[in-house]
């Protein structure tokens, strides 16, 4: 049972299969996709609305091939293209763990997908393109930790589901594996540039981030990554060691020199307005002399991944949404500013941060980006 709990945590099952404020594993969370809204299903052992009547064989077929007990095709928002890489042992452990949960009677709302994708059998064609069934053979030239990491990253952890860009029909672009993607309005950063300047990750930093949701050298997990780090905080350290080992082996050679700031391209008036707004709205926590900067190894904006990123998306999103209270798991918190600051003000602060804390070139069209991101948030 303990192994099952570990597998289910590594697979982030509860992250999607729990509605906000709902019972664990009872489903009902709305997933906004480019193709419409999908509601996650109830995976508690309730016989009528959950998976109580499922055999291990039926469960395994769903995990490996994306086919439900009654034979219908599951939508690939359920990451069976990754879970198919799991070992039989792990699948059986997850099954045993889920079957021991409290059954909850909860029927997921009907999906609202665009035509023709509301016709499930079409997924069979999609699977021909994107499903490569079964575990990967171990790479004997690598050690056991690396192989375990590959299994966790590509299989159970399904990292690529968010950190790889999708093609127009929702398949991962394998030639751009781990180049980064966008999920729930947040950028899932590239995982193949972790070792790149200006601020390369070390393995201890990466492990600490994955297990605690905060890195004193890179920033704090937010958006959909935050619950992932909360799950990884519950699994043995050796699993996170394996994940970090494998991820750091994926780093691409540095293609370009450090970009240099181009002061001529910077919007000086915007930066000036941003400085004023920053000192009233942000400096209480993010100012150089603030208690948050001098206590507890909180990350400085000067090493923030979001502020150094190629796009302003996560800097803007962090200002709009903040990081909600985590209850007992409170590690970090930031209030949302979506109602306090308008798009231009958000952009002014973003431009100020970019110019003040990085050597990177200014972002372009940040006001429009803020408007688009806000619109996306409101539609969720």
């Amino acid at each position: 049972m303990r192994h099952g709990a570990r597998v289910v945590a590594l697979g982030d099952c509860a992250v999607c299969h729990t509605a906000k404020g709902g019972k664990p594993y009872a489903g009902g969370l709305a997933l906004a996709t480019p193709f419409g809204t999908i509601y996650t299903t109830n995976i508690t052992p309730d016989p009528d609305t959950g998976i109580g009547t499922w055999s291990l064989e039926a469960f395994t077929r769903a995990m490996r091939r994306g086919i439900s007990r009654d034979g219908h095709q599951l939508y690939p928002a359920f990451p069976y293209v990754h879970y198919t890489r799991m070992s039989d042992n792990d699948i059986a452990a997850a099954y045993a763990f889920l079957m021991e949960r409290d059954p909850v009677s909860a029927k997921a709302p009907d999906n609202a997908l665009i035509f023709p994708l509301n016709f499930r059998p079409l997924v069979a064609f999609w699977n021909v393109l994107f499903l490569r069934e079964g575990p990967e053979a171990p790479d004997v030239s690598r050690d056991a930790t690396w192989n375990r990491g590959r299994e966790l990253v590509n299989g159970l952890g399904h990292c690529a589901a968010c950190h790889t860009p999708l093609n127009p029909i929702g398949g991962e672009q394998w030639n751009k594996a781990f180049h980064g993607g966008v999920v729930d309005g947040w950028e899932a950063p590239p995982l193949n540039a972790l070792a790149s300047p200006p601020n390369p990750w070390t393995k201890p930093q990466l492990m600490a981030y994955l297990r605690t949701g905060i890195s004193s050298h890179h920033g704090a997990a937010a958006g959909p990554m935050l619950p992932v780090t909360q799950e990884l905080g519950t699994v043995p350290q050796e699993d996170v060691d394996a994940i970090a080992t494998y991820l750091l082996s994926l780093q691409k050679p540095q293609a370009r020199d450090l970009a240099q700031s181009d002061p001529a391209g910077a919007d000086k008036a915007s930066i000036q307005r941003g400085a004023v707004l920053f000192s009233a709205a942000c400096a209480a926590c993010h100012g150089d002399k603030s208690p948050m900067q001098s206590l507890g190894e909180r990350p400085s904006l000067a090493t923030s991944t979001a502020v150094h990123a190629a796009t302003p998306r996560n800097t803007v999103q962090m200002m709009l949404e903040g990081v909600p209270w985590q209850g007992e798991q409170a590690l970090h918190y930031m209030p949302p500013f979506a109602h306090t600051l308008n798009d231009r003000q958000v952009a002014d602060i973003a431009n100020y941060l970019r110019a003040t804390y990085t050597n990177q070139p200014p972002w372009k069209d940040v006001v429009q980006a803020a408007a688009d991101i806000r619109k996306g948030d409101q539609s969720r």
Partner: protein, 162 residues
């Protein structure tokens, strides 16, 4: 010059544009209802209503407000004639030390304006950002619940006067 519209009155203040709204309210307009608690948007003692949204005034730069209307607890009633929500807080004795209460009332006010008859779950979710160290949460909840059932006539939104 910074222009603010507070409780229906326009003000022109010669202050640093980087001043937080809370300081402008307390130090320059004499509106001492909203309190400085943490100064980091973590406690809610400074909550006021900006364009119908509950807002941490300690983190709101006056330069960011533009034409947006600010309402503070002083707009809801007076000592002699408390507003509906204020009267409910008095009736339920919802204040212990009282430091958080102005913020609590303004956050609750924004809820009742958008949702006049909230469920307990809706009240709890809406009030979550505001903290009370004394532990009068049950009385605060009871006061909001009572106000939501009280007649609404005494609690009209203030008219803009300028």
């Amino acid at each position: 010059m910074i222009h603010l519209t507070v409780n229906g009155t326009d003000h022109a203040l010669d202050i640093d544009p980087a001043t937080p709204l809370l300081y402008a309210l307390r130090d320059h307009l004499g509106l001492n209802g909203a309190k400085f608690g943490c100064g980091m948007g973590q406690c809610g003692a400074c909550t006021v209503i900006v364009d119908n949204q509950p807002t941490f005034s300690c983190l709101t730069p006056v330069a960011a407000l533009g034409q947006r209307a600010v309402r503070t607890i002083e707009s809801l009633g007076t000592t002699d004639k408390p507003g509906r929500l204020q009267q409910a807080f008095i009736d339920q004795q919802a204040a212990q030390c009282g430091y958080c209460i102005a913020g609590m009332i303004m956050r609750a006010q924004s809820l009742l304006e958008s949702n006049p008859h909230p469920t307990d779950a809706e009240i709890l979710q809406h009030m979550e950002p505001n903290l009370c160290r004394c532990g009068t949460h049950m009385r605060i909840l009871a006061a909001i619940r009572a106000a939501s059932h009280a007649p609404t006539t005494s609690q009209a939104k203030p008219e803009r006067k300028s």
